[in-house]
């Protein structure tokens, strides 16, 4: 499901025009991005937490060329699902 399909399904549920939903989704995304840039954790009730984590610098060795590379530290966004969502997912049958 891509952005357009998501907007379409949300618009159908809310009985609102797609354009309104699109604007709202964009603002939400922008707000979340801003908060994450400030290194704040965002918790969506019953869904999960978005959190910024710092990955420390590390030394990586290329397995074939043996070249050592110093990877600088970085900040990444991490998502952790809530227990409510996890329980919901438990009902899903696994087929592979």
């Amino acid at each position: 499901m891509n952005n357009k399909e998501l907007i379409a399904s949300m618009a159908a549920k809310m009985n609102a025009p797609k354009s309104v939903v699109e604007v709202l989704l964009e603002t939400t995304v922008a707000t979340c991005t801003e908060l994450l840039v400030e290194e704040k954790t965002i918790g969506f009730q019953s869904f999960g937490n978005f959190e910024v984590r710092k990955k420390e610098e590390r030394l990586s060795v290329h397995p074939s060329t043996q070249i050592r590379t110093l990877i600088p530290p970085k900040l990444v966004v991490n998502f952790k699902q809530s227990n409510i969502l996890k329980d919901k997912l438990k009902d899903l049958p696994h087929h592979d």
Partner: protein, 435 residues
């Protein structure tokens, strides 16, 4: 680091004020957003939000674990996890504070305290090196002027040798001469012994022709402390020759692989048309498929070549369909080897069903294979009947009762049950249609 946690209520307030909508509307929107994402995920879909990221389900395999109290083995059941991959936009924005850092290749292990500054030092290693080379040079001259002991001079000679590694051999000799002139007569004996060695070593090093900023990083901070570069700094330098040579070998392997693959693609595109052409010309000359073929001019050959390149540009490697020739009866008096060639020709060309022997109505218990056996002698050739009636049969396994099936007239060579190639071809088609 304590992070401030923002609850969904705060998000609602922020969105409401930004989008200038009521809080209730924003709340409803957020609720709907989360439920629709959840629903899509539960349906096994991947949810992508523009400029934000992708939500995806990830299956975690069940694994064994141990009960800490009793030590008994327990099996943790597998579970689904929502994996979130941030969009590049979000990734870059969040990583803004560290965006200026880039991965640095190291060839020598760096001391811990240097690691933090690793990126900055590497930014301009050559300038730092030259500065320090000058410093050391000055120091050596000072030492030479002050000390008159032999050990000091020998050390100085080794030090100089290391500094001039990056310079040309001429420079090395010139420097040595300068030192020589400044020395006392007592020291001269010592330097004369050293001199013949130095240019040799310098030449050896210059032939290796390696410049590596990372080593310079390692060497330069040490210089400050020990005034002179010790002999040890030469060894890491020599060790570094290996990786570069390896890299060169890899380059060569890549080049060879690339040229091989390009040759293969050339062959792949040119070979089928050429073989087809030769086959066609043989066929034309032998059994007059084309009435004018007897006096086939060069221009026609050229035309047929261009036809192969234009209309049939997709090479004949995927003969999904089969041709039925228009004139079947003329082919009875052909030699065996030509038969094989024309068979391949039949296999590789798109099919046209024009003539039909009979029409059958599907009853209870009718089978395409049975029809095939009746008309062609073998069950395997049912695929041709299916091909001829494709538009009426959506599924070859379930044909509606009452469907009219036309039995196509087939080239006798195509349904030769004694020819293993025909059977093989029919089975290939069978595999394509029955999945």
């Amino acid at each position: 680091m304590i992070k401030e946690k923002i609850s969904s209520q705060e998000i609602i307030d922020l969105v409401a004020s930004k989008a200038s909508v009521s809080k209730r509307a924003a709340e409803e929107f957020l609720k709907v957003m989360i439920t629709s994402i959840e629903e899509a995920l539960l349906a096994g879909e991947v949810v992508k939000i523009k400029n934000f990221g992708t939500f995806k389900l990830q299956w975690n395999e069940p694994r064994k674990s141990v009960n800490i109290q009793s030590g008994a083995e327990i099996i943790l059941s597998g579970y689904y996890k929502v994996a979130f991959t941030p969009d590049t936009m979000l990734k870059e924005q969040v990583n803004e504070p560290f965006a200026h850092l880039v991965p640095v290749e190291l060839d020598v292990e760096i001391k811990k305290d240097e690691q933090e500054e690793g990126a900055e030092i590497a930014s301009d290693p050559l300038r730092i090196f030259t500065e320090q080379a000058f410093e050391i040079k000055n120091l050596i001259f000072e030492i030479q002027a002050l000390s008159d002991s032999k050990s000091a001079t020998s050390e100085a000679a080794i030090g100089l040798e290391n500094i001039t590694e990056e310079k040309t051999v001429n420079d090395v000799i010139e420097d040595e001469r300068a030192i020589k002139s400044s020395y006392n007569e007592d020291d001269l004996d010592m330097i004369e012994v050293e001199n013949p060695k130095i240019p040799e070593r310098a030449q050896d090093l210059s032939t290796e022709d390696i410049e590596n900023p990372a080593i310079i990083n390692l060497i330069s901070p040490e210089d400050k402390e020990s005034k002179l570069i010790s002999d040890l700094s030469v060894t890491p330098y020599l060790e570094n020759i290996k990786p570069t040579k390896k890299r060169k070998i890899w380059m060569w392997i890549l080049i060879i692989l690339f040229s091989l693959s390009s040759l293969w693609t050339c062959f792949y595109f040119i070979y089928p048309p050429v073989t087809e052409l030769t086959r066609e010309t043989i066929a034309n000359s032998q059994y007059s498929v084309n009435k004018i073929a007897e006096n086939m001019s060069i221009s026609e050959i050229v035309n047929s070549i261009s036809k192969w390149f234009t209309s049939d540009a997709k090479p004949a490697n995927k003969p999904v369909t089969i041709v039925i020739p228009k004139d079947t009866n003329d082919f009875d008096s052909i030699k065996q080897n030509q038969l094989i060639d024309s068979l391949q020709y039949l296999f590789d060309n798109p099919l046209v069903y024009r003539e039909f022997v009979a029409t059958e109505r599907i009853n209870e218990g009718s089978r395409l294979t049975l029809m095939s056996k009746r008309y062609y002698g073998t069950k395997d050739f049912w695929v041709y009947i299916y091909e001829a009636n494709k538009e009426r049969i959506p599924n070859p396994d379930k044909i509606a009762v009452g469907t009219l099936i036309r039995i196509p007239k087939l080239d006798s060579r195509l349904i030769d049950a004694t020819n293993p190639r025909c059977l093989k071809k029919a089975r290939e088609l069978h595999d394509i249609y029955v999945k």
